[in-house]
């Protein structure tokens, strides 16, 4: 299940909700990853844009892959501003045994960073600045630029 929220995530509530939703699913392992905004480089917080249609299809493809291994994925992400020490991202894997969940949380979060259509901005001095140097071009980028891409 993919959940998008305006502003910071309520981490304790989401982790509890997901735990309760799957408590009778006969999963032996539940591994959440929580991403929290750190105080660094003088930022006041981060801000996010999301393109939901492609994020949804990306997530659905991962959910299918997880199902093939008997696992289930859940993910929550913020839209808009998230301030220091608040959280903008939670990914979680439920699986029958620990090995699948441990492997899948890493692969899922890494592919999320490389492919999910979400754009990050630093909030600094009242401005919203695209985090270009921390961003990754999606595979196949440069198609429209022609030969000099």
């Amino acid at each position: 299940m993919l959940e998008l929220y305006d502003g910071a995530l309520d981490v304790p509530e989401l982790l509890k909700k997901w735990y309760e939703e799957e408590s009778r699913g006969n999963y032996g392992a539940y591994i959440p990853f929580v991403g929290t905004v750190r105080d660094e480089n003088g930022i006041e917080g981060l801000s996010f844009d999301i393109y939901e249609p492609i994020l949804t299809s990306w997530f659905d493809a991962w959910q299918q892959k997880a199902a093939g291994r008997g696992a289930l994925l859940k993910m929550a992400h913020s839209r808009g501003d998230v301030l220091l020490h608040q959280s903008s991202y939670i990914a979680a894997v439920f699986s029958p045994k620990r090995r699948v969940a441990l492997e899948m949380i890493e692969a899922f979060v890494e592919d999320f960073k490389a492919s999910a259509p979400i754009w990050k901005y630093d909030l600094k001095n009242g401005e919203r600045i695209y985090a270009a140097d921390r961003s990754t071009a999606i595979g196949g980028s440069g198609l429209l630029a022609g030969g000099d891409a």
Partner: protein, 73 residues
């Protein structure tokens, strides 16, 4: 008409143009100097599916989206 959308930090309003292939869209967008850097690092989706070639046929009402480098989390 085909609608071209520029997502995230590109910060450019959508445009509409006549085009029957993605190659024609590419040619038109290359004429816009403000897009030069974005064309090099953006992925492309047609009707919300990422594509990998310029030979994609387009029809009236299709949507082409440019997706610049991402950083979720």
């Amino acid at each position: 008409m085909v609608r071209i959308e520029f997502l995230g930090p590109i910060q450019k309003p959508a445009v509409e143009m006549e085009a029957s292939t993605l190659a024609e869209v590419a040619e038109a967008l290359r004429a816009d100097e403000t897009l030069k850097a974005w064309l090099k690092n953006s992925a492309v989706a047609v009707n919300d599916t990422l594509v990998s070639g310029l030979d994609v046929a387009l029809k009236d009402g299709d949507k082409v989206s440019l997706l610049p480098p991402v950083c979720g989390g």
